[in-house]
């Protein structure tokens, strides 16, 4: 029996790793060396200063994701690999969007930002910088709405996520 062809989906993997120099390089090297894709990546310390969390968005079918998770677990510096995709989770992304703000457009830009519960965090005679958080759909939506004003620069954080806690009795 051969590998089953199945649907390609986007998985969010939460990987707990030793907070040491070179560990991120090991993880990304694993992906590039084996031809796996990383769509977005975010990494920072957790409450335990010796452990960092890498949140990565990885596209692939079931067989690929199974290999990705197993290969990650095999790395000596990896403590835990959690696939958040199949369980209830909260995902967020932050974007800073620098948009050209001509005088006649300012009000509309502020309205768009407001609708998305974003904030203007920087102002200059020629542009606004809008900060917005939300899931990927929300990011795509605000970007498409701001596009007609000319988006000058954008910095996106990549997706971070945590599993939802179990509701009900403690």
């Amino acid at each position: 029996m051969t590998q089953q062809e199945s649907q390609e989906t986007k998985h969010i993997l939460s990987v707990l790793v030793d907070n040491e120099p070179g560990v991120l390089s090991r993880v990304t090297g694993l992906f590039s060396g084996r031809g796996f894709n990383i769509e977005s990546l975010s990494v920072a310390e957790t409450t335990d200063p010796q452990i960092s969390r890498i949140t990565a968005t990885v596209p692939g079918n079931d067989a690929i994701l199974e290999q990705v998770k197993k290969q990650l677990r095999k790395l000596i510096n990896v403590h835990k690999v959690i696939d958040l995709t199949d369980a209830p989770h909260v995902r967020r992304e932050l974007a800073l969007i620098k948009v050209r703000a001509k005088v006649e457009d300012r009000a509309e830009i502020l309205r768009v930002a407001d609708i998305f519960r974003g904030k203007v965090v920087d102002v200059s005679p020629s542009d606004y910088m809008v900060e917005v958080t939300g899931d990927q759909d929300k990011m795509e939506a605000i970007l498409s709405l701001l596009a007609r004003f000319t988006v000058i620069e954008i910095a996106r954080s990549g997706v971070i996520a945590l599993p939802r806690s179990k509701k009900g009795e403690k």
Partner: protein, 564 residues
């Protein structure tokens, strides 16, 4: 408390690990380590190229089952080890490679003889360490040995900056190592094993496909007992040779691209494939869709990443294959002496028919050129199948695997996964240091032997009585074969011109050189070589265009072999 220099701590750590031999090559960054090593009881073998130091440590590990150790300097010394490390990584061999490094303040500064060896070897080591503080030195070394030898074994590199090795600290060697994020699973799931045994007992045409994991787990005895008990035929990969007795009637020979006809046909026609300590490598499987197409598959391996990597299996079992086989044998014992011989007869007879249909064969004309297969068989006879054989890569490697039958593990040393020419000679040297009681022979090609021929100096310096049998066809044999079969015989850059007189090269180094040019000279020259307790190069001028058969061309199913 007494403080020692990092170099002294290094030696004390090696002693604590029971290391009695190190293969290496000195340089500026490791001069302090060498100063201390020279005053210890640990033997140091000076090679002539750092690649050979790693291959020697690798051969030592394969022959002894212990961790092999290599020590080299920074920069070019370290980069010269990469091929050896990659080979050990592909074949899961426990070696620890210590590399010197520039002092920590200079790291990242493009210093003299500085390379980021930790960065370079990240993808080809099981793990690696840069020791940035002398207080971390002992724990890093202890972890390195622990990682090298546990779970799925592999090479570990430890990078030692010069200032770390000079600074002083107290000696405190960890009594045990616990790495929270590394917990290899030795204990197989009992439920899965019961499922597996159930399938095995019901199967009409079962086949065991074993690999290097059997050797690494020292599972050869348990495997032999299991296979004989249930009358199941056995085939092994290149890495598993010797894991099942080669003279046993249930032994089918190696499988795969250059496997035997009966082994490959058995794979194609079995109804249950029991994979133990093997990883469904492409040299074995050929076209995946054609590999064991009519069979359920059981896969027992200690590394979860090998399971379902290349092929879907019915009963995956993560665990040490010796433990798994012990449990299976116990379960079989509970079946009260029932025999499967009669049930198995039709399948065994079919396999025997295949073997008769297309046995491994070649024709040695007594007046013609020496056939390379004849040389391997002659070596087998002269050593009664008991020698430790290392090979280089290509045709020499395949004929050795086909024609030298091994009856015990840890006797066949070959670079399987990487297929690294130049492996065999230094590996033979390392193996001899592990087993000085054995005859150790490297079977080489004229191309491969020139990749580490400088190790003749090492062999002579320490009087290592290994024998090198060069199957000299004046070609890069395996590539030439592919060019003949698939490239219309355009032998592009495979004619090995200007080959040296290997006998004179051996003598120039102070070794013994012998030559055979006619078939009747083969056996006497082998006897001569074995009788002398010195390193010997035997050059066999063999048939130039002999091919390795059977052959499964790339992309073909394993049952679609090109035959003699």
């Amino acid at each position: 408390m007494k403080k020692y220099s990092g170099a002294q701590l290094f030696v004390k750590c090696l002693e604590a690990e029971g290391v009695d031999i190190v293969f290496g090559y000195p340089g500026g960054a490791v001069i302090d380590l060498y100063h201390e090593l020279d005053q210890s009881n640990i033997r140091h073998i000076l090679v002539r190229h750092e690649q050979a130091a790693v291959h020697a440590a690798d051969g030592y590990a394969r022959a002894s089952g212990k961790v092999g150790v290599a020590l080299v300097t920074s920069g070019p010394g370290a980069t010269n080890t990469v091929t050896g490390i990659a080979s050990a990584y592909m074949d899961s061999i426990p070696v620890v490679v210590f590399t010197g490094q520039v002092p920590t303040p200079l790291i990242g500064n493009d210093a003299f003889q500085e390379v980021d060896i930790v960065g370079i070897t990240r993808p080809c080591t099981k793990h690696n360490f840069l020791v940035k503080d002398t207080k971390d030195l002992m724990e890093s070394i202890a972890k390195a040995f622990h990682l090298a030898r546990t779970g799925r074994p592999g090479p570990v590199l430890v990078d030692l900056p010069k200032d770390i090795v000079q600074a002083r600290d107290v000696f405190k060697y960890p009594r045990s190592i616990q790495i929270k994020s590394y917990q290899p699973n030795y204990q197989p799931h009992l439920g899965q094993l019961r499922k597996a045994l159930d399938l095995i007992l019901k199967a009409k045409r079962p086949l065991i496909y074993g690999g290097g994991g059997i050797i690494a787990a020292r599972a050869s005895e348990e495997l032999t007992r299991f296979a004989r008990r249930l009358s199941i035929p056995v085939t092994m990969t290149l890495m598993g040779l010797g894991g099942y007795p080669g003279d046993d009637p249930q032994w089918l020979g190696m499988l795969g691209m250059h496997g035997t006809y009966q082994a490959n046909m058995a794979v194609g026609n079995c109804d249950l494939l029991i994979a133990i300590g093997s990883r469904f490598d492409d040299r074995v499987t050929g076209k995946i869709e054609g590999f064991a197409p009519n069979a359920r598959i059981i896969h027992i391996d200690i590394d979860p990443t090998t399971i379902r990597k290349n092929i879907e299996v019915d009963v995956p079992v993560v665990g040490d294959c010796r433990v798994a086989l012990q449990i299976l044998n116990t379960m079989v014992d509970e079946l009260n002496g029932r025999s499967w011989r009669d049930e198995r007869m039709p399948w065994l007879e079919q396999i025997d028919a295949w073997k008769q249909e297309c046995p491994l064969a070649y024709a040695q004309d007594p007046d013609g050129a020496i056939k390379p297969q004849y040389v391997v068989e002659a070596i087998h006879r002269a050593t009664r199948g008991d020698a430790i054989i290392s090979t280089e890569v290509g045709q020499n490697q395949m004929w050795s695997a086909q024609y030298y039958r091994f009856n015990a593990p840890n006797h066949f040393l070959s670079s399987g996964g990487l297929g690294c020419m130049g492996y065999g000679f230094p590996a033979a040297i390392g193996a001899w240091f592990a087993r000085p009681d054995r005859t150790v022979i490297d079977i080489a090609g004229d191309g491969s032997i020139q990749m580490n021929i400088q190790e003749l100096a090492t062999a002579v310096q320490y009087n290592v009585p290994v024998k090198i049998a060069i199957l000299n066809n004046r070609y890069l044999g395996m590539v030439r074969q592919w060019q003949q079969l698939f490239k219309n015989s355009r032998y592009a850059s495979t004619s090995m011109e200007a080959a040296p007189d290997f006998v004179r090269v051996a003598e120039a180094y102070g070794a013994v050189g012998l030559r055979a040019t006619r078939p009747e000279e083969v056996e006497p020259v082998i006897q001569q070589a074995l009788a002398v307790d010195r390193p010997v190069v035997i050059e066999f001028l063999v048939e130039r265009e002999e091919n390795v058969y059977p052959m499964v061309p790339t992309g073909e199913a394993i049952t679609n072999m090109l035959l003699v």
